[in-house]
């Protein structure tokens, strides 16, 4: 087990490095970073001043080396736009994104699990058909449209919930529903499919024949086996949400990592972009590692193989 974890961590470092090089290169090659920082109405003199100030005219390798040298000392740099330390910016924004992600995944699982199990218990029934329709609709409707529809209904027409901002818990309800409803369909279908498969196996038939309570069969035997792929998918979905949903955070004006990512990308704010990419990579790596460990805990067969 320990060797497994160490191997994964070593791979992780390599992955993070590779991602940072790719991000750095792409950001400098796609659009002139000086134009991003200086703004739309920049004249040639403004661009030259920005280039001189941030050393954009140095060779890419030199710029990257300088950046990595700083990161190694724990200095993620300062935002080109606001001059604030990147770590401060991230620290301010991560809580909102984390809260939104947690609420969203809870909403998604809260719908997906019961619906998936119930649909699997009565395949091809009306309930099953409704659940599948819900899944298709949830996956088909674009995030921003769903968000705006919710805003119009609950924010403007009914006035039950605040429309935008992130100052109170109520502000997170609509965004969590929007973000969660995007993740819910895949989870629901996975649970349903997994449960249907498991319920047809011999050991479930045996358990039923042995007279075990329905609930015990369902949860202790069936769900526990069906849930393994769901854990991995949940980890990936949660990772995506923790990276900050740019769309949902922009539509609902949530001061999170996603919106910060959008802002920095559109203004070529390199230090912030790099830090966010680093953060997202780490989140994914940690989450997938945890998911694998959880799976191993649940399924002894995986433990043995590791």
């Amino acid at each position: 087990m320990l060797r497994f974890v160490i191997r994964r961590l070593a791979l992780a470092v390599f992955v993070v490095f590779a991602i940072s090089i790719i991000t750095f290169t792409l950001s400098h090659v796609a659009v002139d970073p000086a134009a991003g920082v200086a703004g739309d109405s920049a004249t040639d003199d403004d661009l030259a001043a920005v280039r001189a100030q941030y050393g954009f005219d140095r060779p890419l390798i030199v710029q990257y080396a300088a950046y990595i040298a700083n990161v190694a000392q724990g200095d993620l740099g300062r935002s080109y736009l606001s001059g604030q330390p990147v770590t401060t910016l991230l620290a301010e924004r991560i809580p909102a994104t984390a809260l939104l992600a947690s609420l969203s995944i809870l909403f998604a699982l809260g719908l997906a699990l019961p619906l998936g199990v119930l649909a699997a218990l009565r395949p091809n029934s009306t309930l099953d058909r409704c659940a599948l329709t819900l899944a298709v609709v949830g996956q088909a409707i674009p995030n921003f449209w769903a968000g705006l529809l919710l805003i119009l209904l609950f924010g403007v027409k009914l006035g039950w919930l605040p429309i935008s901002g992130s100052s109170t818990l109520a502000h997170f309800v609509l965004p969590a529903i929007t973000l969660g409803s995007f993740a819910m369909p895949a989870l629901m279908r996975l649970i349903r499919a997994g449960m249907i498969d498991v319920l047809e196996t011999d050991y479930i038939r045996t358990a039923n024949a042995m007279g075990l309570a329905r609930r015990t069969v369902l949860f202790k035997y069936a769900l526990r086996n069906a849930i393994l792929p769901v854990i991995s998918l949940t980890a990936v979905q949660f990772g995506f949400m923790l990276g900050g949903s740019i769309i949902v955070e922009s539509v609902f004006a949530i001061q999170g990592i996603g919106y910060l990512a959008w802002q920095s990308m559109s203004r070529s704010d390199m230090p912030v972009i790099q830090a966010i990419v680093l953060f997202i990579s780490l989140v994914y790596i940690v989450l997938t590692l945890l998911a694998d460990l959880l799976n191993a805990a649940l399924d002894p067969r995986i433990r043995g193989a590791a």
Binding site: V31, D32, A35, G36, A38, G39, D40, S41, A42, T43, D44, D45, D46, A49, V50, A52, Q53, S79, L81, S82, G83, Q84, E92, A96, F144, L148, I151, L152, G155, V156, G159, W160, L161, P162, I163, S164, G165, S166, S167, T168, L169, A170, S250, V251, F252, A253, I254, Q255, Y259, W262, Q263, S266, R267
Partner: protein, 503 residues
């Protein structure tokens, strides 16, 4: 269990109740689309940033938004000492938001610091003309330019806020940008999670051009998505927004609680052509007849009437008519005549037409209208509708033959800020015409108004004669705000909440 649930539910409901705002507590909630990178007016030079700068800080002079005349603000009088020097008499008894006294030292320190390129002022044009700033005494200051600089007063009134030297030096410019102190009618009162507050400064001096603010509190909320901002105005949680899409303004105005208008701005839209051959030596626009054909091919009156709206106007000059030097009489005007366009193209050897890339960003409908008009005369346009920054980059790097963009001139009422930026041989210049470049250089180097006017008139005549641009129209700005608010939009695209009030 139930007891706990009811408690949570009650707390939740309480949290969800919006706080009383608006006329009730004499506050105004404003929705802006982009978070300012701090409050330093020399760094935060996007429109939203300039708006905030004008409320937190004062400049030496106030340019009246209606008459464009200069009025006293931090300076009560100003005289030209010689071609390079302006002397300002400063207002006595002005205090900063922290109570410290405003003196010449603050002017000297602020302008000297930002004139230094190492400080990193984002708009170098605003500061690089300054040679030195000297205090004659506590209330008199002289600003000396490197060369005769005719637009000095424009920049002094528009782009150079004055900071408290003691405070700014003690905390450093970085911290100053996060917690600003100025002499403006509003002071920064803190904020977080996408929202901050400006409170009316009760120590604000009387008799300046900005008057005394009526509204006590400005609550600024950052709401990136346009549709969400509009929804907030409809819902009444936000009481003022701008950048409302033109097609939504009419609909919003029908709501009784909302007033929506399209206000004219100084921003001019144009189609710039690659006459200099930056896209390649075979650029069709190197030929005058092709450029003239483009000028004849597009029905600007219809575009303005149908797709611009408000009081947008057709332009025949490469500048904004109210700018000093923008001689509308000097321009050659091209009428809408597609047959003539086709004849000119045939004469130039493009009877079968040609293909060209056009970049644009402001409005898809207008760009596509231009595309169809050009298609009708045989020019196939490959339209690239991208973000503003990417579009500017494409034009400046010579990647496109046509550019349908716009320029706000930083609200500077001088032609050097509009056509002066596009025909001066810089990366904005698609013409690279030495005769025009010389004319502009001479006009920039003298303060003699007559000589400047003459040079600019000639330049405008040449630019339109040689058809380097197709000047299109003025850009209108959509505003939407609470019907109970007295608010006046200005043509310089700078909302002034210190002049607004509740009915």
């Amino acid at each position: 269990m139930t007891h706990r649930l009811t408690r949570y539910a009650a707390a939740f409901a309480l949290l969800a109740t919006p706080l009383a705002a608006g006329p009730g507590d004499n506050s105004l909630t404003i929705g802006l689309g982009e978070e300012p990178p701090g409050f330093d007016g020399y760094i935060s030079t996007a429109r939203d940033g300039v708006l905030l700068t004008r409320h937190l800080f004062d400049m030496l002079i106030y340019r009246n938004p209606e008459t464009f005349e200069y009025e006293p603000l931090l300076a009560t009088g100003w005289t030209r000492i010689d071609d390079l020097t302006w002397e300002f008499t400063l207002r006595d008894g002005v205090t900063f938001h922290d109570g410290s006294l405003f003196t010449a030292e603050d002017v000297v320190w602020t302008l000297t610091t930002y004139a230094n390129p190492e400080t990193g002022a984002r708009s170098q044009a605003s500061v690089q003309w300054i040679e030195r700033v000297e205090a004659v005494d506590d209330l008199t200051v002289r600003i000396v330019s490197k060369t005769p600089f005719p637009a000095a007063l424009e920049f002094i009134s528009g782009s150079l806020p004055i900071y408290p030297s003691d405070y700014a030096q003690s905390v450093g410019l970085q911290a100053f940008s996060q917690a600003p102190i100025g002499t403006g009618p509003y002071m920064y009162a803190g904020g977080d999670s996408g929202q901050f507050t400006l409170e009316a400064f009760d120590g604000y001096y009387q008799g300046g051009g900005k008057g005394t603010p009526s509204i006590d509190t400005l609550i600024v909320r950052i709401i990136p998505d346009t549709a969400t901002r509009v929804a907030e105005v409809i819902g009444g949680n936000v009481e003022w927004i701008w950048n409302v899409p033109e097609d939504q303004v009419a609909q919003l105005d029908t709501l009784p609680a909302v007033t929506a208008t399209l206000g004219s701005t100084m921003r001019i839209a144009m189609i710039a052509m690659d006459a200099a051959g930056r896209t390649g030596e075979d650029s069709p626009f190197a030929d005058l007849r092709v450029r003239q054909a483009v000028n004849h091919a597009i029905d600007r009156d219809t575009i303005v009437a149908e797709l611009v709206g408000g009081d947008g106007e057709v332009l025949n000059v490469p500048c904004y008519p109210l700018q000093f030097g923008c001689d509308t009489g000097a321009a050659v005007v091209y009428d809408y005549d597609p047959d003539k366009a086709r004849a000119l193209l045939a004469e130039a050897g493009y009877g079968d037409g040609f293909s060209v890339k056009m970049s644009s960003y402001r409005d898809r409908n207008r760009a596509e209208a231009v595309q169809s008009y050009l298609a009708a005369v045989g020019i196939t346009v490959d339209l690239e509708l991208v973000q503003a920054r990417a579009s500017f980059s494409a034009w400046r790097e010579g990647e496109v033959g046509l550019w349908y963009g716009d320029w706000g001139s930083f609200s500077i009422a001088d032609v050097s800020a509009s056509l002066g930026n596009f025909f001066n041989g810089s990366t904005n210049d698609g013409a690279r015409d030495p005769e025009i470049m010389d004319l502009l250089a001479s006009a920039d180097a003298t303060v003699d108004e007559t000589a400047r006017k003459q040079a600019y008139s000639t330049a405008i005549r040449l630019i339109t004669e040689r058809a380097y641009w197709l000047p299109m129209h003025t850009i209108v700005m959509g505003y939407a705000y609470d019907s109970e608010l007295n608010f006046q939009a200005n043509v310089d695209e700078l909302p002034r909440f210190f002049l607004a009030s509740w009915k």
